[in-house]
């Protein structure tokens, strides 16, 4: 009896494993962030548009905000830019931009040409802030709650659908919890 069942059980186990492991929708490069639930790393950098102006996430303390990591070298960032502009128009939360592995002038030009969805854009000169946030590519988008904790990280270009499905409910929940 179990001579017959064992191969069958092995087959089912492998089928389940492959269905999960080979799922084309699963991004194998998207890693879970150990930062989730922890305090957002603080940073104090200069503004992309004005090197004499400081941008610090401490200024957004007490608010729900998002941090969007991007660079002009990043094709996917260009893809998501339209979505970010749309999100900015909704004025739901402040969007802090973090320019990663880039030149200040390139970033400036990009914002002047494509529009600026950011409440503030910080320029990560030497990649240290990115390391603190566990950034390993772009675009990456973090959601920080009113207590200053990272509650969500999205790795991939932002879209209106992702914003609706993943961000808005979490923002609403964070505000309820914080109120």
């Amino acid at each position: 009896m179990w001579k017959f069942l064992l191969p069958f059980a092995v087959f089912v186990a492998l089928a389940v494993l492959f269905a999960f492991g080979l799922n084309p929708k699963r991004d194998i490069h998207a890693l879970p962030s150990p930062l989730i639930g922890k305090a957002a790393p603080s940073f104090s950098l200069t503004d992309v548009m004005d090197p004499n102006r400081a941008v610090s996430n401490a200024a957004f303390k007490g608010q729900v905000y998002i941090v969007n990591v991007w660079g002009t070298w990043c094709e996917a960032c260009r893809q998501e830019h339209e979505a970010l502009l749309g999100i900015a128009r909704q004025q739901v939360v402040p969007i802090i931009g973090l320019v990663y592995m880039d030149q200040r002038d390139n970033a400036k030009e990009w914002l002047e040409q494509l529009g600026n969805p950011y409440t503030a854009v910080a320029f990560d000169t030497d990649g240290r802030t990115a390391i603190d946030w566990g950034v390993y590519g772009a675009p990456e988008t973090f959601l920080v709650d009113g207590q200053g904790r990272v509650i969500y990280k999205f790795i991939s270009p932002m879209t209106p659908e992702v914003w609706q499905r993943e961000f808005l409910p979490r923002i609403a929940a964070a505000r309820r919890a914080g109120a």
Binding site: L31, P32, P34, M101, D126, G127, I131, D132, G134, Y136
Partner: protein, 146 residues
């Protein structure tokens, strides 16, 4: 015979050079203290470059890897322990950043799996051998007049 020599030379050159370039990635040169340099090499070999996920930061030439190497170098020079450096990395990038995850309850399966498979294999072989040894020896020539 002679016509194969140039090809052989090329193959040899490629094979021999494969082990060399790892150190050439560091623009800043070696750490002054050879002990620190040895630790630096060991640590950077155990840290995964998250951009090209099967390479270590010692071997990768992407910018993130060079930023992380700088971080390791600075922490070593500041007198930090290996554990402190690994903790720094796993706090930010998760356990996946290490090629050698520490032995913990949640990594038990990773470390135990090879032994599990070994035991399973031994059990299966043992059962097959025992069953066969009970079978009649039917491949021997049948006794009879020659």
């Amino acid at each position: 015979m002679n016509s194969k020599l140039p090809l052989l030379a090329v193959v040899l050159a490629v094979c021999l050079s494969a082990g060399v370039p790892a150190r050439a990635l560091d623009a800043n040169g070696q750490l002054e203290d050879p002990v620190l340099q040895a630790r630096y090499e060991r640590i950077t070999k155990d840290l995964r470059c998250l951009v090209c996920q099967n390479e270590s930061i010692a071997d990768s030439n992407v910018e993130l890897a060079s930023d992380l190497r700088r971080q390791v170098r600075e922490m070593l020079s500041a007198g930090q322990s290996d554990d402190a450096i690994f903790d720094f990395m796993t706090d930010r990038y998760g356990e996946f950043v290490r090629f050698n995850p520490p032995l913990e309850p949640k990594t038990l399966l990773i470390w135990g799996a090879p032994f599990l498979v070994l035991v399973l294999g031994v059990v299966i072989i043992f059962r097959i051998v025992r069953r066969r040894s009970r079978m009649p020896l039917d491949d021997e020539p049948a006794p009879g007049p020659l």
